[in-house]
Assembly symmetry: C2
Homo-oligomer: 143 residues x 2
Amino acid sequence: MKLTERKITTTLRRHGYKLTPQRQAVIDTIVASQDLLTPARIYEKVSCEHPDIGLVTVYRTLELLSRLGLICELHHGNNCPSYTASNPEHHHHLICSGCGKVVDFTGHDLVSLGNRLARESGFKIQNHVLEFIGVCSACQETK
Amino acid sequence: MKLTERKITTTLRRHGYKLTPQRQAVIDTIVASQDLLTPARIYEKVSCEHPDIGLVTVYRTLELLSRLGLICELHHGNNCPSYTASNPEHHHHLICSGCGKVVDFTGHDLVSLGNRLARESGFKIQNHVLEFIGVCSACQETK
DNA sequence: CTGCTAAATGATAATCGTTTTCATTTGGAC
DNA sequence: GTCCAAATGAAAACGATTATCATTTAGCAG
């Protein structure tokens, strides 16, 4: 279950952030899309409805939402980061290298592996990233 | 076992690339370091021995080595990519968020998970990324 | 509803990492 | 040694992101 727009706005409020039309627009766009969106793409989409929004505001909103854990920032090989609405439960991503579509998946437990690594390496494990990159069925057809 | 410098140079030859002093220097630097190095950091290190090398050449060499699979390019959250000598057998990375040190680990098989995902999602899986981020023992002490 | 204030915005410029361009140099085959 | 495609370096171009700062506004108090 993806995060609802409502959940995001109430979280913003709870942390004392204002709920501006610009932030609304960015949130709407991210929640409405199933795909990985770059900042530029988000700006482009948002601009259709709100032509007077600045790219800077998009960046600032993304930084804020990311910091609050409401959206996920991913890097899949190429240069620039992409964002997708965050899933409240722990999960991983399956990303289409063709169109950027993101599918969440759960059910693979890496805690015991993390514990083993911590024991063997002396690291204090903070986080992990598990991503599968592939080609979605739609992109496989249009080759 | 990390890739040796010798292995890298013969691979270059085999693909018809020239073995220039500049490439040697970049290769030496990457092989000698256990840490994740950014292009800027590699340039900095290489410049000590070869003050007349250009940053552009570092970028070009990294691109080449990465394309030949001799070094790994990683993105761990932050903006710019980092590189480390590649391990010939399939492996994953444990990265220190303090100093950038990289520890390879193997033995965790994700093939069956990949197959399950492919079956359920219709994706054709191409690749996967598994990284653990943590704090190495040295960095834990200097806090 | 009205006014107030700190927070948020937008325009512009600055910054940073990376890539392109192009004239010059050079590794390595002959 | 000669030659030429490949490689290099300097400079400029480029794209993404961030900083600056004057203006606007959300949300609260009265």
